[in-house]
Symmetry: C2
Subunit: 299 residues, 2 copies
């Protein structure tokens, strides 16, 4: 079955102590769509300006990402620039230029309103609502977010949580949202806000799923070298929903393996700048990392 | 088979924002011995002063901990006092009074020199060497440490690493020792220092074993409430070696389950001040948490 992803489509300029990488393809929707595309037909809902390089459109197309709902308008593409410290754990934003994103109102063509798997990737909660409003009968809706929306759009985000099956956030966001340092306590509070499934991303420490069946603790794939973690969380949730859409059977019976597939895909994202490495991976290479994760966790 | 543990035997005074707990039984050897005692006959190598409460000797005896190598001498027992912040993650040392520890020279009675499982719990590396020198033919030697010894006794610790099968340290210590932020890279460097098995403790994020068979990623048991994490690392390695000593078969075939048993035992340690909670647990209750960890990780 197919997937629809709304999120940001951006040009990212990423500095590290060793290199400068201007105008990479980035944004939550770009990362999530490419990750999902390894498993299922994926459709992108986003907006780019007329400065958007055609090589990036070609990249989407090589991954067979549906672009019917990608708006191309006059103006500048959303541009983010950031700088990582030497250990690649801390980053700071140097500049954010919204460009055409400022007036983005996603409209789904008729053909996309019946897509069953919906990923509301990191973007303003109002836009997540607006896309969800247009989907007729979603089978599974998962939302991601970031600290910014907890700070400036909490009310809209809380409303969204009552409308989604699953919610993904990172550990510091979970603490911020619940005022709980203890993860199991935070998870309980987040369930009370609506979602049946809550997934907390912990970076190199993996992720935790909380569901009615209990907790699932998944490792991150251990990497000898992290080149650029930008988009790893987006790739994780993209891989996760792509895998789910590729399976028959219930969400409950597939979600754990979906999370592990998300971890495996996200590991490729971290091995190159922007989408450089992940676009070169293959389904068998992903499956190999999933098997490696199985070996690393069985006892 | 039986276990010998050398480490500190202390009185711990632990403050939290909510309570003050003076003169609890503490020290790396106390925590490790109690944890190991659930699985195997365990012998304590340590020293206490004549202020050491008899109720704590009774506690050791209830756990059938061999006290032949526990020196009782005139003077004050080692006393540590510390204070935890509200989230129970950060602690600061308020006072350390070495007392009788200052002149500690562990001497093993003849009966303990053939004990096959040796835990060199956190203590000065010179004392770890001194105990290891007295063991005739150890089957398995594991050493723990702390940042203090990396700072003031690195040379002796590095010598020790060439003499042990396994080395346990926490993630910040692994970074400090190797100057590597990346965990797989740090693990490789630590193997080059000697140990066949390296186990990195990551607190609530669990632990990672690196061995010739590859990596094993183990979760911590998720707790709704952490009362006092003091001694959790000592309990972890104590449970680990106790479980190993209780098994037939090779170290390689048992080490993963030993780590999970260590995690389960350590979780009880965190649920009470000092040894209050762990002394009330049972082998079946530990087994239940091991089964829960199995359920939490299988996919």
């Amino acid at each position: 079955m197919s997937v629809i992803v709304v999120g940001s489509t951006a040009l990212d300029s990423i500095k590290t102590p060793k290199s400068s990488n201007p105008r990479l393809l980035g944004g939550s929707a770009s990362h999530a769509c490419v990750a999902a595309s390894f498993f299922a037909k994926t459709n992108l809902v986003g907006i780019v300006g007329n400065d958007f390089p055609s090589r990036y459109l070609n990249l989407y197309q090589r991954h067979k990402i549906g672009l019917e709902a990608l708006q191309r308008v006059p103006g500048k593409t959303f541009h983010w620039s950031g700088e990582y410290e030497v250990n690649m754990n801390n980053r700071r934003t140097l500049a954010t230029e919204l460009g055409v994103f400022e007036t983005f109102t996603p409209e789904l063509p008729e053909s996309l309103r019946d897509v069953p798997y919906v990923l509301l990737a990191n973007i303003a909660p109002e836009l997540q609502h607006h896309v969800l409003d247009q989907i007729r009968k979603p089978k599974f809706v998962i939302a991601d977010t970031m600290d910014l929306w907890l700070n400036i759009a909490l009310e809209s985000l809380l409303k969204l949580l009552r409308r989604v099956d699953a919610f993904v956030l990172n550990d510091s966001e979970a603490r911020q949202l619940t005022k709980e340092d203890n993860l199991p306590a935070a998870l309980r509070k987040i369930h009370r806000l609506g979602p049946k499934y809550v997934i907390v991303k912990k970076g190199e420490h993996g992720s935790v799923l909380s569901s009615p069946a209990g907790l699932f603790v998944a490792p991150a794939f251990p990497l000898r070298k992290v080149v650029d973690p930008t988009g790893a969380g987006d790739s994780f949730v993209g891989g996760l929903i792509g895998y789910l859409a590729s399976r028959t059977g219930s969400i409950d019976s597939n979600l754990r393996r979906a999370i592990v597939h998300g971890s495996a895909v996200a590991s490729f994202c971290c091995e190159g700048f922007g989408l450089n490495r992940i676009t070169k991976t293959t389904r068998p290479a992903i499956a190999e990392r999933v098997r490696a994760l199985e070996k690393m966790t069985c006892f």
